[in-house]
Symmetry: D2
Subunit: 339 residues, 4 copies
């Protein structure tokens, strides 16, 4: 029988968009058709967001992106002022990013494997990638420990993730972390379903053992804070990878401002990379034109790209990186609004 070491040999390596000037390639997609042309447009709109002095950029992340080698794409976006706020699923931020910040790794695997054998070896699988569950348990516990040190009150996920950044600043073993970089650069990170990830295990442990007085997670506060950012930012562009809660939550802040009787424009730019289909009527694959009927997204600069993120995200982001319009942007540092 195989041992754990037989499975966990080669580690995932994150792509470095700084090394690949994809501008000529992406521009050659401009006059083609189908998804090449769509990808070009999405890249152009992202670059336009960065060039537009008045536009703040919100990045929405869903899917197992960081375990798949896309973590440093976002690290570079944060470092280079290419994003002003992040809304994500919990798995990306905690199980994958904070996890690597603690010094752990993801491993190259395969989907053609016996999952029962993996379970016996405490190896977790994400399609063709492996995780050492013993590492992941340490990640869970670290969240629990952070809870134990905090004042016992409701927190937005942004507040808590800021504490995780502070933790990595002191104890982290890998500075290539979005949680850490966002902490250093005052880029707020929101995870509206924050208990739905490795962090959830830490919180359950904390609340179970502290039934009377404990840290709680206020997802309404998340929504209020992101709404305040929209009020402060006014003009916004959204860059979505995948759909799910981050897509819906971020689109909704336009309506939330309206509920507070504050007038703000719809998201001026909106791009989404996704393989989700619109024909089941679900949110993830719903078109940005549909979002426009809800008053959330303007239709002048919107583009969906039907492509899997590991291929498309480096092209879209790399295009904007090498265009260099981020060099002239002022830093928003929205996290300072809440300090």
């Amino acid at each position: 029988m195989s041992t754990k070491k037989d499975y966990l040999k080669e580690t995932i390596q994150h792509i470095d968009i700084k090394k690949h000037n994809v501008i000529p390639l992406v521009e050659s997609f401009k006059d083609m058709a189908f998804q090449a042309r769509n990808l070009y447009r999405a890249a152009k709109y992202y670059d336009m967001m960065l060039e537009d002095k008045n536009c703040s950029v919100i990045l929405c992340l869903a899917g197992s992106l960081f375990s798949a080698g896309l973590k440093n794409v976002v690290v570079d976006m944060v470092r280079n002022n290419m994003v002003d706020a992040i809304v994500s699923t919990g798995a990306i931020i905690v199980d994958q990013d904070f996890f690597e910040g603690l010094g752990f790794k993801h491993y190259i695997g395969t989907q053609w494997v016996n999952d029962n054998e993996l379970r016996d070896l405490m190896i977790d699988r994400i399609y063709d990638t492996y995780i050492d569950e013993e590492d992941l348990r340490i990640c869970d516990e670290t969240v629990g420990k952070i809870c134990d040190t905090l004042e016992k009150r409701p927190y937005s996920s942004r507040e808590f993730i800021w504490e995780m950044g502070k933790y990595l600043d002191k104890h982290g073993k890998n500075k290539e972390s979005v949680v850490y970089e966002a902490y250093k650069n005052n880029v707020p990170i929101f995870v509206p379903a924050f208990s739905d990830c490795s962090a959830g295990f830490g919180f359950v442990h904390h609340q179970w053992h502290n039934p009377d007085k404990h840290v709680s997670l206020d997802s309404a506060k998340d929504f209020l804070e992101l709404t305040k950012i929209k009020l402060e930012a006014f003009e916004t562009g959204i860059f979505m990878i995948g759909g799910g809660v981050p897509k819906n939550f971020t689109q909704d802040v336009v309506v939330a401002c309206d509920v507070l009787e504050k007038e703000v424009p719809m998201h001026k730019y909106a791009i989404q990379i996704t393989v989700a289909d619109e024909r089941d009527g679900a949110l993830s694959g719903s078109t940005l034109k549909e979002a426009s009927s809800w008053g959330k997204v303007d239709t002048t600069y919107e583009q969906m790209v039907y492509a899997e993120a590991t291929i498309a995200m480096p092209l879209v982001t790399g295009y904007a990186y090498h265009k260099g319009n981020w060099k002239n942007r002022k830093k928003r540092e929205f996290a300072k609004m809440f300090l």
Copy 2:
């Protein structure tokens, strides 16, 4: 130019599974291939969950299911003791179910429409379905009003939805509501990303106007409560429509029990109806075999069905309804654990 009335004419009618004995049809799928055979197996496993005296059933809902005519399928599941706990997206429970409980309707529309015109008329579109946004704003406000009446402390989504059920009991205009029926039958409903829906607007309004002392939403408490239900239930089966947060959250409770050093079995039965693809590595389309590597789902009775829910869910649920094994189940009434 068209008026709102031109668009909002015909209302969505919910399918009534009680009227269609689909057992012979679904059994004829047994010896076919591809998704017909998979659908038969999923139906059989759901029926086995209901027949298994020791098995508690958790229903996971994602996608625009109730606006599409599937609301009464779940109303009947709750009424007839075919489900013991529900984990859902917010849109289904608030924007669609509670919304109809307040007396509002969804309308038959089309995706071949000018969304800018819809926006001007305050009509929101979900693929081929329309909503009167003025109705939806009343739904938002009602959530805000419920907030205002409550003690100012953190709530799990389950607690808050219980309050919504109580509200419908007094003020509701349509008893065909899952929120209402679950309230009457002590079936707990969890929405782990509860601010990510119409309710979010109510909470933002409430917290904005009550900055110091307000209701907050504790999603960690959600996770703790569902974990307690797993501990109480011990043996469980999960019936998932779509993926997203409800799928992940519900699978995770097995690990949460382990984190609390309590031994419970993996989910013994697991079925999922989805069109999501596994090849992008994201959670929604990830196989139940993959979940088994994480120690969440047993592989003996698991079946994914690649089908859109409006067609497949009435067949799977109708099969189990007409089989009648729910008649012999004891009621769990897990909501009573928290009263």
Copy 3:
């Protein structure tokens, strides 16, 4: 190690639409949304084709439909005058239908299997279905033998398949065959890519051993014959399962008539059941509205259904069967045009 018998145990059973009155179920889909509503519309349009005295019906088949248990659906359509011409892939007509006509069977299998082991045992796999390759070789050879008996000249696939029907009439072991029933009922069957299937092996064998004088397959003649049928039929409706060559070929006959300077109407009704996506620009998933730009399909009664065929085809066809409008149709017997 397993033997062939271990794998080839349970046989695929074809669904019998006559036994399931799905009218109430399908009508309950009418006022729902998404694919349920689309499926209802497709079923209604198919029924309208049969009710319309002037409309001839062309059925287009692609995908591994008959090995999956849908063969008898089409047998019943032919027997009950619900279809006037068939355009198909070769695999369905030869490898699956003629194959079963010779007395062979398809077996229930699984996709979770070692394909190298299957190959060693001479078992061919179609997703979750098995075929005994030794049976299939006999099917190939039978085609070769039919070739040997025919006059050496170019044949349309329709002509050749008519010979296959005649062969089954004499030597067949299973009367539940579309090739046989179509032969008896003078329903022409076209396979425009006829060498691309089990028949191809028979032809290669025949031509290799008869290099100078042999049967050849004239796919241009196929197109000419179907064009003649369109000229004769004038008003037409098309019912497509899957896309590929049958979809394109059948849509194209409208243009072919125009090329011959004969005026005929576009296909008046058009429905398609498919899971193909439109976003890659390929024909299989292209919308029927797009086909309308080419002057092939009218847009008044067109409906695509995004669903896998094993579930959707019995519902659409069963609806029309139980509606009974086929009882009042005159038989077209287009095959007689070529006798």
Copy 4:
């Protein structure tokens, strides 16, 4: 109302893989996950095919590839000895390649358009691309004229396409044509469903007006000829874009050799770029492992990439082009076998 000129303004520009050294980008995909990693592997296997002295390469094309800007990718593959035989759908070779060889163009369009208006203007739409139908009719007629000049007998598609190349050599207006380059370089092109495209209209016209003595299309001869090439080539690799008839036909030649009692190896290398899903059991999305159960494809070097072709094909092909292993290949010139 718009005129034709309003729609047909910007032309599709074909990507030039020679200009983009994508090796570093594609190699950075190697240690990522999901489709990036799969794309790297496919690129590597294609390069291995070219490096392997004994391996002949067959390219299979399906989908609207050349109208989308991928034509010159294949022109360069033919010019630079990166492919030894091509199997394609008719639309790519006739409606798109030969069409451009005659001097016509494809135009940038959009799917958000009124197709009835396009039809009135004689503009054909392929998703987001437009064609002037008057140009296309000239293409149809040219095929008809070529028929009229030929000896009246059955032709394989390869023979006929060779005549089309000869025609372009004399009368062509754009040398960037695969039909032309393949003619010059003795690379055979097969279109097994040759009547299913613009050529079909030419053939119908020819046969209608020459009922007694005419050119016919022998698709069995296609299969025999490709089988002879496999016998001559012995070791082969297949590079598939999309599925459909080209995929099946090319995989089948291994079995055809066996039917002739000639021993040849399975296809040693096999890669496929497709968005087709395997869960409907159809050929296009069926895995290469499944093909292995049929004895068609070896599983040592096989890789499917789930990606749309306009993005993925330039990366896979560009990688192999810039690797340069094609420089050391001997030319097969299989077309000479039939001269």
